[in-house]
């Protein structure tokens, strides 16, 4: 009884590795490609200075970008210094860390297509809402 439980657990693990390894390798390869094709300086050129449009631009490019959140903070910090609005930078970093366009195929395959599309779509809208609310609330204290 006990040994069959172990056998079942090992079999489950092997099935999981077999199922997820190609997906994880594919995602890592895609991230490698995006990091190579999109230089970090690219992000400073995409903002327009328009307060209504820039948060949307920030959220769109934050969603597409892939990589360590630390990179998003570094880029966000540099964008702020170069004069991009706080609301646009926040939309950029919140969407960077909450949305995974590159990982979407992997999320769809392992958690369901509907779930992945809805979760990322709603997270996109929420990134803009969080950015706007943060700036508004911060303004109240300040």
């Amino acid at each position: 009884m006990e040994s069959s439980r172990w056998k079942r657990a090992v079999r489950g693990l092997l099935n999981n590795i077999k199922m997820s390894s190609p997906i994880l390798l594919g995602v890592l390869l895609l991230i490698g490609l995006i990091n190579t094709l999109v230089p970090k300086e690219f992000f400073s050129r995409i903002f327009t200075g328009n307060n209504a449009l820039d948060p949307l631009i920030g959220a769109v490019f934050g969603s597409i970008a892939a990589g360590n959140p630390l990179t998003s903070y570094l880029i966000g910090g540099e964008l702020l210094i170069s004069g991009v609005s706080l609301v646009a930078v926040l939309a950029f970093i919140v969407s960077w860390v909450t949305i995974g366009t590159v990982q979407l195929p992997a999320e769809s395959l392992m958690l369901g297509r509907k779930f992945a599309l809805l979760r990322n779509g709603i997270s996109f809208l929420m990134a803009i809402a969080i950015a706007v609310l943060t700036v508004l609330i911060s303004g109240l204290f300040g």
Partner: protein, 173 residues
């Protein structure tokens, strides 16, 4: 006649598609592919220890968790107690988001709620070790507000995703 693509499996098809993308790009510009592969190898080396932890958790979940237990703490029967569990687990989990899909897929099969999976994934964006870096760039006030809002919005995210997935499921059926 059986569709040979179905036999291969969507996971392998995805990897083959990415490999083909590399192949075509390599024909056009080999240097891009070499640089991308270098980034890939650096990432892979960094991810392997975390992946080891994730697969260890998958093994332990297969060993100790059954649908009844998952349902009690993270399923429909978990009521209010599932939310803090998903939030804290999401915040404390390490590594990139996609490394956690295998474990979440396993827990979903055992009965974990879609809402709590979404909450876990959303809270992975809250990185405690990186907060000092955020404060350096954006200031304490902004970091406290944005972090609080992200945790709060994660609950809304979970509820909306679950409701819409269920609704879509019903209309799709």
């Amino acid at each position: 006649m059986k569709n040979p693509l179905k036999k291969i499996g969507a996971n392998w098809l995805f990897l083959i598609a990415v490999a083909l993308l590399y192949l075509f790009l390599g024909l056009w510009n080999l240097q891009i592919v070499v640089s991308a592969l270098e980034v890939f190898l650096v990432l892979l080396k960094k991810m392997l220890p975390i992946l080891g932890v994730v697969f260890a958790l998958v093994f332990l979940s297969n060993l100790f968790l059954n649908p009844k237990i998952v349902s009690r703490y993270l399923g429909k029967g978990s009521n209010i107690r599932g939310w803090p569990v998903a939030i804290v687990a999401g915040i404390l989990s390490m590594g990139p988001i996609y490394l956690w899909y295998p474990l979440l897929g396993e827990l979903k099969a055992k009965g974990m709620r879609d809402a709590l999976i979404a909450v876990f994934l959303y809270n992975r964006a809250v990185k405690i070790p990186l907060i000092p870096m955020m404060i350096y760039y954006f200031g304490l006030r902004v970091v406290v507000i944005v972090t609080g809002l992200m945790i709060l919005f994660s609950i809304g995210n979970g509820l909306i995703v679950e409701r819409l997935v269920r609704k879509e499921g019903k209309t799709g059926a």
